[in-house]
């Protein structure tokens, strides 16, 4: 039996090459690993080794030949006859093929535990309590940790210090140091450890003291947590939450004041939530902890201390991908999320005083996005602006503008305006900082502009 030795592809991009030098001649006995020839690829000169043993019976391409196509025969190897026959081989492969087909027919049906969650009914009759966003987040974690022992909280100062922003107050006392874990200052490391623990079936909540520090860990978030389910063909993923304050606080300068919403929203495999109110913070965090996917949960330091009505409903849980309509209106749609909502709502009030009725949508989650509600609203109001604190280039507003233009172009009576933070690192000086953020006045002005008022 003889085997053709084929021109090898020796780089990801090689299509042809030069046979620079033969290191064997006809009649030579070779064994696996022996160097047969030197081949010039598009990148380098490579040594080409024998894979099988046998005798070189013919050399088909002479030294110095250029432009030899990959996979064309360059020599013939005579075998010493120890191969199993071709017949046996094809029988084996047929059998294995059948096995593979059976395996493949069981295609996994895509399900999400979250889609089955519906918005809890909150009517005028529902009793409400005033709670801060901080308390709502703590309650969400405590409730979920009581519900599932595999849930634990890990991060800097989450345990004994009770949270750098006091979000984890009381959790160490209730759940102990096994489940509320202080880490050294080592974001990349503990994000990776938590991701590994999630591969093995635990459900970590990773607290970043702020998302600014999560840039140290972003490789583990994006490359390990977000992509593993796909890369493993659905065998294992990362059921976990990365949470902490995101965006500008107050007077902390450029390195502590960035909004990362669009960074994470860019990544398939991640879910992204950015709640504004206490009730949404609680309901969405409970959803996030139960979700089998990695969730980026973007909080805001300025909102932590703010109080909202929280309905007195047991196991209050909010589904991902459903926007909340805070205010009904007919003249324009204002789309926002997270702290952007404070400008959107305030602007809507001022606009109402001027006779413009804005419909205000709070996206609540950025991945998935509730496109349906946006399109419905814009189809009614015919005008739209977006509001966020993040940088203007490749902002969430940019994406929404493109989406609305593509799907509701005929309904639009004016170009969409994106109200965003300014395209500058956050300055420290109080007056400049104020200028760098989006302002209510800018939102009001944009709204009037799209209404041609």
């Amino acid at each position: 039996m003889t085997t053709e030795i084929l021109m090898p592809a020796l780089s990801p991009t090689m299509e042809e090459g030069t046979l620079a030098k033969w290191l064997v001649k006809e009649g030579d006995k070779v064994s696996a690993g022996d160097i047969l020839a030197e081949i010039e690829t598009d990148k380098a000169t490579m040594e080409f080794e024998a894979v099988d043993e046998g005798t070189i019976s013919r050399i088909l391409v002479s030294e110095g030949s250029e432009g030899i196509k990959v996979n064309s025969a360059i020599a013939i190897l005579a075998d010493d006859g120890e191969n199993i026959s071709d017949l046996e081989l094809s029988d084996i492969s047929n059998e294995k093929q059948t096995l593979a087909d059976t395996k493949n027919s069981k295609l996994k049906v895509e399900t999400s535990t979250i889609e089955s969650i519906s918005e809890p009914e909150w009517t005028d009759a529902t009793k409400v309590n005033q709670k801060t966003v901080r308390e709502a987040l703590r309650d969400a974690m405590a409730e979920e940790m009581r519900r599932d022992e595999k849930v634990f909280l890990i991060g800097e100062e989450v345990a004994e210090y009770q949270g750098a922003y006091k979000v984890s107050q009381g959790l160490l006392e209730e759940f102990g140091s096994k489940r509320v874990i202080d880490t050294p200052i080592t974001e990349h490391g503990f994000a990776g450890i938590a991701t590994g623990a999630s591969f093995a079936g635990l459900r970590p909540i990773v607290e970043f003291m702020t998302f600014n520090f999560a840039m140290q860990a972003i490789d583990q978030i994006v490359n390990s947590a977000a992509k593993t389910l796909y890369m493993s063909g659905g065998q294992m993923g990362a059921p976990m939450v990365f949470r902490g304050p995101n965006g500008a606080a107050a007077r902390v300068g450029a390195q502590h004041s960035q909004d990362y919403t669009s960074w994470y929203a860019h990544i398939p495999g991640l879910k992204v939530a950015a709640p504004y109110s206490a009730s949404d913070a609680k309901g969405l965090l409970k959803s996030a902890i139960r979700d089998d996917n990695p969730v980026i949960f973007l909080e805001n330091e300025i909102l932590y201390g703010r109080s909202f009505d929280l309905p007195d409903i047991e196991d209050y849980i909010i589904p991902f991908g459903k926007a909340r309509i805070w205010r009904k209106g007919t003249d324009l749609t204002i789309v926002s999320f997270g702290i952007g909502m404070q400008y959107a709502l305030k602007a809507a009030e001022e606009l109402a005083a001027q006779g413009i009725e804005a419909e205000v949508l709070d996206l609540r989650t950025i991945r998935p996005i509730d496109y349906e509600t946006i399109i419905q609203s814009v189809s009614k109001t015919n005008r739209c602006i977006t509001v966020e604190e993040g940088f203007p280039v490749v902002s969430i507003g940019n994406h929404l503008s493109a989406y609305v233009m593509e799907h509701a172009f005929d309904y639009l009576d004016a170009p969409i305006i994106n109200c965003t933070g300014k395209d500058v690192p956050m300055p420290y000086a109080a007056n400049l900082e104020k200028l760098a953020l989006v302002t209510t006045e800018e939102v009001v002005s944009a709204a009037k502009k799209v209404c041609y008022r």
Partner: protein
């Protein structure tokens, strides 16, 4: 062959020697076949072969028990075969076919098996180190006595996250064995040019992690070191470092001409230190096996490998709808 250094340990049984021989040979032949399929254009992109390093995973897998976990970098084919994953599924993943372990969506560098506790296959150098410590964290949290083998190379040993992980693993007494496969070259940069001290295993001392250097061309030494490390971890004493000095015969990846070392250097390792030849001569000189016995093993391995290549060629490409599956659970 006269200068070959033969392992001095004799207190191993015939069955163990034969199984080491078989397991190492399977990896060698599988990798040679993978190289061949790459040359034929059936395997694309990056493909990092394990040829030369076989004794590392085979020795350590012999120390592992059911339920122990393992995780490694992109040079991962050997680890998968050594932990019992199906060569057909591995080869079909290399060719990007539906019958592959990740349905063709992961490729050479990204393969997993929940069933065999193989947690990848990671393409970012060093990223598997905290992930491996995380697997060990889960075992400790769940209060079982399993250990995790976390493999990385001499190159990855210079990544910062390795030391972040050493610190926490030691602080929290995680049952993780850090296996540094020192094959002396981080892609094209020799250890001498990249690493401030020659003995990487000593880098755990600042974190109070015991470590030792192991002859990675001798599977019996690797197994002995593995047993010691596993015992340490299972006893709840925290992490352990094994720096296993090994050598890769092929380039860093298929497209590496390996001009940073001489052909003589490679040839010398192959001729004098080859782990498979080492076991082969112990088997023969100790009268544990005859030439014929070994020939029949060679034949059996060749059949398994050829079969995996046939399977990998015949398996269909993934269905187009697979593009959009497994993104979210």
């Amino acid at each position: 062959m006269t200068s070959r250094k033969v392992s001095k340990k004799t207190n191993v049984n015939k069955q163990e020697l034969l199984s080491f021989y078989k397991d190492m040979l399977l990896i060698r032949r599988f990798e040679e076949k993978a190289g061949q399929l790459y040359g034929m254009g059936l395997i694309g992109g990056f493909c990092h072969l394990y040829i030369g390093q076989e004794a590392v995973v085979v020795g350590l897998e012999a120390s592992a028990e059911e339920g122990d976990k393992r995780i490694t970098s992109y040079r991962d084919h050997g680890h998968m075969l050594a932990c019992g994953m199906d060569p057909n599924g591995v080869m079909a993943e290399l060719t990007g076919r539906a019958g592959g372990y990740s349905k063709g969506k992961g490729g050479s560098m990204h393969m997993f098996s929940k069933e065999k506790n193989f947690y990848g296959g990671h393409g970012i150098v060093g990223a598997q180190v905290p992930l491996g410590a995380g697997l060990a964290f889960a075992d400790k949290y769940l209060e079982n006595d399993r250990v995790t083998f976390t493999y990385f190379g001499d190159g990855a040993a210079n990544q910062g996250q390795v030391y972040e992980t050493f610190n926490m693993a030691s602080l929290w007494k995680l049952p993780v064995i850090f296996v540094i496969e020192n094959n002396q070259y981080a892609m094209g940069t020799s250890q001498l040019r990249s690493t401030s001290t020659p003995d990487i295993y000593t880098r755990g001392s600042g974190f109070d992690i015991p470590g030792e250097a192991v002859d990675g061309m001798d599977v019996l030494s690797v197994k002995a070191a593995g047993d010691k490390a596993v015992k340490h971890c299972r006893a709840g004493k925290g992490p352990y470092i094994l720096e296993i000095k090994t050598y890769r015969y092929r380039g860093h990846s298929m497209s590496d001409p390996a001009k940073y070392r001489t052909r003589e250097e490679v040839q010398k390792m192959r001729e004098e230190r080859d782990a498979i030849e080492n076991i082969r001569s112990i088997l023969l000189t100790g009268n544990h096996a005859s030439e014929d016995d070994l020939k029949s093993i060679d034949k059996e391995i060749k059949k398994i490998v050829n079969e995996s290549a046939e399977f990998a060629k015949a398996s269909p490409e993934p269905e187009l709808n697979e593009l959009y599956t497994d993104i979210y659970a």
